[in-house]
């Protein structure tokens, strides 16, 4: 059995900092492993060797490439479906029809429901379909595998990290509770004003429509967000503000698909946390923090797989019930 706590997972999704495990939360078996690792003097040396090897011979980020291919393919399917008039995936990311079957982005649907205060059956069908889909696939999986802004933000992040290395820019982290506040504010605004206020600035909607129906001045807003992330705060939109991310995070909180951490093989070198969009979900990889031999990564995880790629000891894996490695 792997360790997971829905309460902590959701609390961290909403912005609470991860908490260190209380002594009684950790089984003697796991405690013993923590102690052995602390006592193992060769561990640091092993990490050095391993990191030196990695630096000399940079492994390809296979999952990242696959994920980009999927993200581009999904968005391209929208574009080609319209351009070539093959009617396979009609509409945009906010709402669409796949082979005639309704789908609705959960956050867009929520905004419409709150603003319009009336729900037609097609929207119910679309919302339930997408809810089940993303619950199965892991909620925020939408973010890293589908959202076009995520891809641009990843490229902006590369630039940010490069500039940060040259000491030209500096990351200004923010309070993650901001996203929960923003989510509530946008939900309340939709309810009270009767307008889908968030949709006005949603880079996901703006980009999806720009790809399908052609560019417009709305792209300037997306450009400003990216510039903000490059020069001021790393991945600021996805990390601290986007209500879509929180909506899908909540949907996927109990998802069967997740990233799983395996304590025994971990060297605790922290490579995963360096690449992670939401490093707080990987708090458990810090030596002494794991509460179980295997730990399920929390709801804020986008299942992007960068940690899986980055981990030199394969201590982080994708997990789906009944699937290979971690099917204990």
């Amino acid at each position: 059995m792997s360790y997971s706590s829905l309460k902590d997972s959701v609390a961290e999704l909403l912005g609470r900092d991860p908490r260190k495990p209380a002594p009684d939360e950790v089984s003697p078996e796991v405690k013993a492993i923590h102690q052995d690792k602390r006592a193992d003097k060769s561990r640091i040396a092993k990490i050095r060797v391993e990191l030196a090897e990695k630096a000399a011979n940079k492994p390809p980020e296979k999952l990242r490439r696959k994920r980009w291919a999927v993200l581009i393919a999904v968005n391209l399917l929208f574009v080609l479906s319209y351009w070539l008039d093959i009617q396979l995936l009609e509409g945009a990311l906010t709402a669409s029809r796949f082979a005639g079957f309704h789908m609705a982005d959960l956050n867009s649907a929520l905004q419409v429901m709150l603003a319009f205060k009336h729900v037609v059956i097609n929207l119910v069908i679309g919302t339930v379909t997408v809810f089940v889909l993303w619950w199965l696939l892991g909620g925020r999986t939408f973010c890293s595998w589908v959202c076009p802004y995520h891809l641009l933000a990843e490229w902006a992040e590369m630039l940010h990290l490069w500039l940060a290395k040259k000491k030209i820019v500096k990351d200004h982290p923010m309070d993650r509770r901001m996203r929960t506040v923003a989510w509530l504010v946008f939900a309340l605004l939709a309810l009270l004003t009767g307008y889908t206020v968030y949709e006005t600035i949603s880079p996901t909607g703006i980009l999806s429509r720009a790809l399908i129906y052609g560019p417009g001045v709305a792209l300037i807003w997306v450009g400003l967000l990216l510039a903000f992330e490059v020069f001021y705060s790393r991945r600021a939109w996805c990390r601290y503000l986007c209500p879509i991310g929180l909506t899908y995070g909540l949907v996927g909180a109990t998802s069967p698909f997740k990233v799983r951490y395996h304590l025994s093989s971990c060297f605790h070198e922290g490579e995963c946390r360096k690449v992670c969009l939401v490093p707080h979900v990987l708090d458990t990889v810090i030596l002494g923090r794991a509460r179980g031999l295997e730990v399920d990564i929390g709801a804020d995880c986008t299942r992007c797989g960068r940690c899986v790629d980055a981990c030199p000891t394969s201590s982080l894996t994708f997990h789906f019930p009944g699937s290979g490695k971690a099917g204990e």
Partner: protein, 274 residues
């Protein structure tokens, strides 16, 4: 030593305070930018002709999920999506009638059927039930019929890309207006191409669209009314007008003699005529 710890503590708390402050500023900034979207709506900077079945403006903006499925199904590509300069209206569909009006050549109101949220109300089934707006004659003196003139040639010139469905040419496919030149002794393009008038004529001839009697409009939408006995006539908009914009699109005069007015029609409308 103690001093240093204190200093470090002060620095940490200062850092935390700064972090909190910039988070609040960031959040407030994003919400503020989003709320700016109210300005073009409240100020009615741009009024738009909306697709068939559109609820009245406020409800329409609330209900529309900004996906553009209506855009994709329109056979004459009349529907476009608004840009960010329309604030809360960004991504919301509209029709620029002069460039491409809705000529109901889909018969079945495809945009209405495509709408996933009911922003285009599913209660409209036939073109004559639609309430997009109403045509207004704005510069009557320029009207060719008022001047007693005919019209010969391409209604909007060789460069105009707008389309109409001419049932006598092709029942199923709209063709560019420029491919269908006219030769008229007295210009009556606005009446001749009116989708409501066309349907009324088809019904009178015993051939309602798709053989469906319910497609027959109960009221006329536009007529040419004699001014005097010299043969000059003026266009008069009637109660059956649904605001589709075809008369505005086809009018060969620049600027058009007739324009769409969507300001009143949908003001109390549930997206269809009572």
């Amino acid at each position: 030593m103690n001093e240093n710890v204190k200093k470090a503590k002060r620095r940490t708390s200062q850092k935390a305070r700064r972090r909190f402050l910039r988070s609040v500023l960031y959040g407030a900034g994003a919400v503020g930018v989003a709320l700016l979207g109210y300005l073009p709506v409240a100020g009615q900077w741009i009024t738009r002709l909306r697709p068939p079945g559109a609820l009245h403006e406020e409800k329409f903006l609330a209900a529309c999920i900004k996906c553009g499925q209506c855009v994709q199904v329109c056979p004459v590509e009349a529907i476009r999506l608004a840009d960010l300069d329309e604030g809360f209206g960004v991504g919301v569909p509209y029709i620029d009638a002069r460039a491409q009006a809705c000529d109901f050549s889909c018969d079945g109101l495809q945009c209405v059927l495509a709408c996933p949220t009911g922003a285009l109300t599913h209660e409209v089934n036939y073109p004559h039930q639609v309430d997009m707006g109403v045509a207004r004659v704005v510069n009557e003196a320029q009207c060719l019929a008022v001047q007693g003139k005919g019209f010969r040639g391409q209604a909007r010139g060789a460069d105009f890309t707008g389309k109409l469905r001419y049932a006598e040419v092709d029942r199923w496919n709209p063709i560019p207006v420029r491919d269908h030149p006219y030769d008229l002794d007295l210009c009556d393009l606005c009446v001749r191409q009116c989708p409501i008038e066309i349907r009324i004529a088809e019904c009178a001839a015993g051939k309602p669209p798709s053989g469906d009697e319910r497609q027959c409009p109960p009221q006329h939408a536009i007529k040419l009314e004699p001014i005097d006995d010299t043969g000059r006539k003026r266009p008069v908009i009637l109660d059956g007008c649904v605001g589709c914009g075809v008369c505005e699109m086809i009018c060969p005069v620049e600027p058009a003699v007739i324009v769409m007015d969507s300001s009143e029609s949908r003001a109390s409308s549930k997206g269809l005529r009572a």
